[in-house]
Symmetry: C2
Subunit: 340 residues, 2 copies
DNA sequence: GTGAAAGCGCTAACAC
DNA sequence: GTGTTAGCGCTTTCAC
């Protein structure tokens, strides 16, 4: 156990230098494993450091080197304040990001912002001097704000939707294609009057909706009805119940913007006595663990979260190294289970 | 939009001072809203700062003030490496922590550690100089390590289980009581041969198990069988399937360590044709959103996550202010639905 | 009410 | 190889 008590506090590199009988500079070099230090003095210094449980102050180091080894991760909650930070998809992504960043030697600074309150949210984070780069999880309704920032700040990568000609580097699933897949599956399963369940304010969701609309239009089916909901489970449940009642008999297939909404929808369908998939087909999006556990198991469009996290970190590190990077658009994958 | 280009970079307080025609010290005071600055110069300086999109460097400020306004949140993954960071309960707690800390003006530095690899994980985080205090999410199998650290470091609060006489400040549910409630419910529903599903390595889970064992012993029922599983969904599913097959007919009530496991278990029970609650009673723990959505809906023991997060932050801030604080043990609450 | 100056703990020239 | 020195950008005495 590192000894903080008996031997007196060894808090600074200077304390350590005094004990080792060398200069602070040498200690710094030894601890950094620099080659120019005598192997003998180096091991000695490292031993003393270990013995006293010494850890260099990262703030001081960061200030001097102009590099903090911290990556900021920010979740903008523009369109739905109370949601998302507990959204299973984002949280899983965050978990994988933590893994990847740790592996690369970076710490992770998490910030949750409500952009409505300050337009300045992203500049503030970047300008804080605390982070070497930033990963934005979800564009929310802040696409333009992110574009603005991207012009003057390179080490930024965003999880979200890719739009032709955009300037910020994004990693994400091809939402529009995913939307097409979902609609096509619903139609293949026999549905003809489709509805989209969710909120199209967020650009990712809008793209999913647009993709579904593509398919429907191409086949000459009636346009898709939007069943607008919030994303937080508590509010969404009632909203879904109301929508289902309002549209009873006029729709026979639902494309839910996320698996979470799909699962909620399934519960409401059950309680209203609507049989799935006989009376209503249902397709979700994400392929979260819950998709396998609903009754009946959920047909959904899979996003590869782990690959997404890897992509985000990989691209960010390359940008940090000065490279220019293209966006990474990953293919969605239809997972057919029992709801459509 | 803050102008980084035309007016030249205003990165430091000194740049700003030059433009405003005052000294750096005055700028610092003005920006901090200190009273002793002339109201006029103060507003002027703030205006210039805003105009140029200036933000003070937090690293420098932190170094000088010996205070970073960052709270570390660490998730030790001792007993089950691959789990937890994506565990719904911890993620929800993390979301609420982010909210609470933000409200109090703190940033959140997230770290996920695998203690097996270095015994030093907590000291390293604390000694980094990057954080003013630390919240540990889950004791995992690191109870002793946390106790050691608590002796020399005050601003730490831990989410987890409370043990008589422990030295670190903890916030958590009364797991033992929760375990008793779960077992009693199973028994009241007609079960007599109980099993505990999960991993008792983590102390919280061990306490839940012990509580259940209390009830069973008091009523003279046969001791509870342990059905050991990992917590990651992929591995747990097979393990549960095997356990159910092995114990077919010898148990009639299952207390799952978490709702996630309970939901998984429900899926396996269904696929093995075991009727719930007729042939098997089931009780979970946590009352996550999923508990309402399983079929049939899950009877479970509720932990108040939002209150937990508030408690953690509140106690940490008080400790940061030098106060001594007691641990906060919150009462669990039985939520009866349809599985027992 | 404001300026000057010292220094938080570290790193990286620059000497030798 | 190692010591010395000058800051990184900010805050805070201490003067005035």
């Amino acid at each position: 156990m590192p000894d903080r008590d008996t031997k007196g506090a060894v808090r600074t590199i200077t304390d350590l230098a005094r004990i080792a009988g060398v200069s602070p500079g040498t200690v710094s070099r030894a601890l950094a494993g620099k080659s120019l230090v005598n192997i003998e003095t180096r091991t000695k210094i490292q031993a003393i450091a270990r013995e006293h449980g010494f850890r260099p102050n990262q703030m001081a180091s960061g200030l001097r080197r102009q590099k903090t080894d911290v990556i900021g991760v920010v979740i903008p909650l523009g369109h739905d304040t109370r949601q998302q930070i507990s959204d299973a998809f984002f949280m899983t992504l965050l978990g994988h990001l933590a893994d990847e960043l740790t592996r690369e030697g970076y710490d992770l600074m998490l910030r949750r912002v409500v952009p409505g309150k300050d337009a300045d949210w992203l500049d503030r984070f970047i300008g804080s001097g605390m982070i070497d780069g930033v990963i934005v999880i979800g564009q929310s309704d802040q696409f333009d704000r992110i574009e603005d920032v991207a012009d003057g700040y390179d080490p930024m990568v965003v999880w979200g939707n890719h739009t032709e000609g955009q300037r910020h580097c994004v990693v994400g699933t091809d939402n529009r294609l995913g939307g097409r897949m979902a609609a096509e599956r619903l139609i293949a399963a026999g549905a003809t009057r489709l509805a989209f369940l969710g909120d199209t304010t967020a650009i990712e969701f809008a793209a999913r909706f647009a993709g579904a609309q593509d398919s429907v239009a191409r086949l000459g089916l009636p346009p898709i009805v939007t069943l607008r909901t919030h994303l937080s489970p508590d509010r969404a449940s009632e909203e879904i119940a109301r929508h289902l009642a309002d549209h009873a008999g006029t729709i026979d297939g639902i494309f839910a913007a996320t698996d979470t909404l799909a699962a909620l929808c399934l519960t409401e369908l059950r309680s209203q006595g609507i049989a799935v998939p006989d009376d209503m087909k249902l397709v979700g999006f994400d392929d979260l663990p819950i998709a396998r556990q609903t009754v009946p198991p959920l047909t959904t469009v899979r996003q590869d979260i782990a690959a997404g996290a890897q992509g985000l970190v990989d691209l960010l590190l390359r940008r940090l190294a000065g490279e220019e990077t293209e966006s990474l658009v990953m293919p969605p994958q239809l997972v057919v289970r029992a709801t459509a």
